[in-house]
């Protein structure tokens, strides 16, 4: 059975991919993020738009497609997310 992921967990997965698992230095394409974060195109578009507007991701315009890189704020958020995710897991919960 597939594991249920909270909205925050999906954001954490997207940010982790853009931080640790990039195809190249320019950033990750939407298609790559869809595959890595295992999420539909319509849903990831909305999430990416929000993450860019919140300053957690930076949109990099390239010739063929848009790419996304994690920002410094995104790195700090991801660190906080990982810390408090572990804290909640101690209580048997997921954030």
């Amino acid at each position: 059975m597939a594991e249920y992921r909270t909205h925050l967990k999906i954001i954490g997965d997207i940010l982790s991919t853009t931080r640790d698992d990039l195809q190249d230095e320019d950033g990750a394409t939407v298609t790559y993020l869809i595959r890595k974060a295992n999420i539909s195109h319509s849903r990831i578009s909305l999430i990416l738009k929000t993450l860019v507007s919140q300053g957690l991701l930076e949109k990099v315009d390239s010739r063929r497609s848009n790419k996304y890189k994690i920002s410094q704020t995104g790195r700090e958020f991801l660190q906080a997310y990982n810390t408090f995710s572990g804290f909640a897991t101690n209580f048997g919960l997921a954030i």
């Binding site: 249920y4 958020f77 660190q79 906080a80 408090f84 804290f87 101690n90």
Partner: protein
């Protein structure tokens, strides 16, 4: 001796609840997680509940000097703690029963307590026992899923608190026995077990939200 233990228990409960509640609210402010918000409500309630009882004992000892704590103060403190235990159990309930329901994720279900004019305190204790036992079982089940060692300590802590509440409730049947004394020792041990994994949260690595005071 019982007075001293009551004071230790209530102070430890107040401090442990305050620290875990503060870590939870810092987490909520930095991530926006509703789970952490519920944990913050839970542990602040537990902390306030212990503080109310501790204050009751202090006022009795230094001001009233009647030789026993006002019953309504003890009942109020236990009721506030029960609300805290409810929110811990509620968070597990959401995860296990309504994992995809946005309604239950956003709206809290407030507990319905039976009201008895005779022994409200013992009703709260029995409700607390059920909530704590449920939360302990869910926590140990989550350990089998992700093998996080901190979950064992929290599960032991919740189990000891549940046992302490049960013995505290059972001492109603044998009022002058050693049961109440034992229940306080067990609850202190439970609170310490709850605190162990929280003390390892590396907060120093977090760059806190600037709006957090």
């Amino acid at each position: 001796m019982e007075f001293l233990l009551e004071n230790i228990l209530n102070l430890v409960g107040f401090l442990v609840g305050l620290v875990i509640g503060t870590v939870s609210i810092i987490g909520f402010r930095n991530t926006g997680s509703p789970t952490l918000f519920r944990l913050a409500i839970a542990f602040f309630s537990i902390s306030i509940g212990f503080f109310v009882i501790w204050t009751g004992y202090m006022v009795e000892d230094f001001v009233i000097k009647s030789g026993h704590i006002e019953r309504w103060v003890q009942t109020l403190g236990i009721a506030i703690q029960t609300v805290g235990y409810f929110f811990i159990a509620f968070s597990h309930g959401i995860k296990s029963v309504f994992p995809k329901s946005s309604y239950f994720r956003s709206v809290g279900i407030f507990p319905l307590f039976l009201v008895s004019s005779v022994q409200i305190e013992h009703i709260f204790r029995s409700v607390s026992f059920i909530l704590l036992a449920y939360a302990a079982i869910e926590t140990i089940l989550s350990y089998f899923e992700n093998r996080n060692k901190g979950a064992i300590s929290v599960a032991i802590g919740l189990s000891l608190l549940a046992l302490g509440e049960f013995l505290g409730w059972y001492s109603f049947v044998f009022p002058e026995s050693i049961l109440y004394f034992v229940s306080m020792i067990i609850k202190i041990a439970g609170l310490i077990a709850l605190f162990i994994p929280v003390s390892r949260v590396p907060l120093t690595k977090i760059k806190f939200d600037e709006s957090f005071d």
